[in-house]
Symmetry: C2
Subunit: 239 residues, 2 copies
Amino acid sequence: MLLETYKVACSNCNLRELCMPIGLSQEELQKLDDVVATRRKVSQGETLYRNGDSFTSLYAIRTGFFKTCVSSQDGREQVTGFQMAGEIIGLDGITSDHHNCNAVALEDAEVCVMPFANVEEMSREFPVLQRHVHKIMSREIVRDQGVMMLLGNMRAEERLSAFLLNLVQRLNARGFSRSELVLRMTREEIGSYLGMKLETVSRTFSKFSDEGIIEVKQRWVKILKPDALKRIFDPDSFC
Amino acid sequence: MLLETYKVACSNCNLRELCMPIGLSQEELQKLDDVVATRRKVSQGETLYRNGDSFTSLYAIRTGFFKTCVSSQDGREQVTGFQMAGEIIGLDGITSDHHNCNAVALEDAEVCVMPFANVEEMSREFPVLQRHVHKIMSREIVRDQGVMMLLGNMRAEERLSAFLLNLVQRLNARGFSRSELVLRMTREEIGSYLGMKLETVSRTFSKFSDEGIIEVKQRWVKILKPDALKRIFDPDSFC
DNA sequence: CGAGTCATTGATCTGTCTCAATATTAGTGG
DNA sequence: CCACTAATATTGAGACAGATCAATGACTCG
């Protein structure tokens, strides 16, 4: 009985302030509930969508952690991002009506399925939502530009420090510690994202550790000197 | 008199098939004319918008060639893309209502200024246009993912061959030769885009030339063996 | 508890960068 | 028209960050 009254609803979601509903009025929020068709559980290692799948929906992450990646014909894989609660994935599918990358859950996850037809319909009705959808896509474009800067211009230490600072910042916005984190991805996945080999990732972690900047034990990381990390590279410092 | 009747108009623009109007009906096309406020000339070396400028409009390139680039606090510059006729720039500004990169004309250019408020208003009215705007943004996201793959996984020769193939393909879609092109950017700008130093760009050009794959003379390039280039790396081969 | 996955560390190799010199071109003014 | 300058491009030699190859260690999960 309790389960049946449990309703998918943006209006009482605890990610209200991070996800789609940002800036919407109470009335608009309730309309938005209709955009979200269902929720879907994705267990660790499972693929939410893969390259070539036909595109129907965007996904808002409720819980869990994802990676998105593209791969070339010869099998090389490039992780294009890591996504956490409140973030929207699937935007890559809009251009060609089929997805252009894979989205894999790095831990058990749950997503809100938002059929894109609903999103577009609602966007036409509510300018606030329309603007929000545009901002989400634009934010992704700006993020990508930052990654290009990282991959094109930065050295291994700068890349890893930017990566760590970006992660804790986003985790902190979700109520987690600003100094401690548990990585949900392997060294190889970090390396793929940052354009370096897993051994180099590991070595750079060890170097930071030797210098007393961080404490590392496998997936667990504690940032001891955030300022030192920022001096190596601050991801907010693009001008 | 003739000049006065000359009207900014998408409905009779020769880029109809490449730019915003794609897929619109005659009626919608005429409405779209109202989106474009004005045209603006940008001469070589001039900046259309720069990082920090407040965002008001998207720009459709009518003629000419642009680069977009971001720069870090310490002055390192990353070229994030090269844009030509029919392509839309300015999307980076939507998230924060101010631009996040610089757009510089690499040759004398003319753009159609599309105030974003108009674009959004018209999008609410015409689902076809709404979908098109979404596709343009999504296409940019997918392009960025391709650049990440390039920067994260590819070697110098692969990067340059992908770059050349991508350029001629886009030029060919605009009626230019599929084998000959004049580069509008310096070796340094190519290098910045591809995450390599200008000397390496130059050396790689020379290597391709020695192998008889291309003919190079400064900015002028002729592709002699497109298949050989594709074997090194085909930008359409993401799977 | 055992097998497989993941992480660390060492030794060596290599693609690209750096530094440096020269060549080519475009632009300017006499 | 030519000389001069500044910007751009090419090419070489040597250095180095990160890749590669390889071995060991730590953790996870059935």
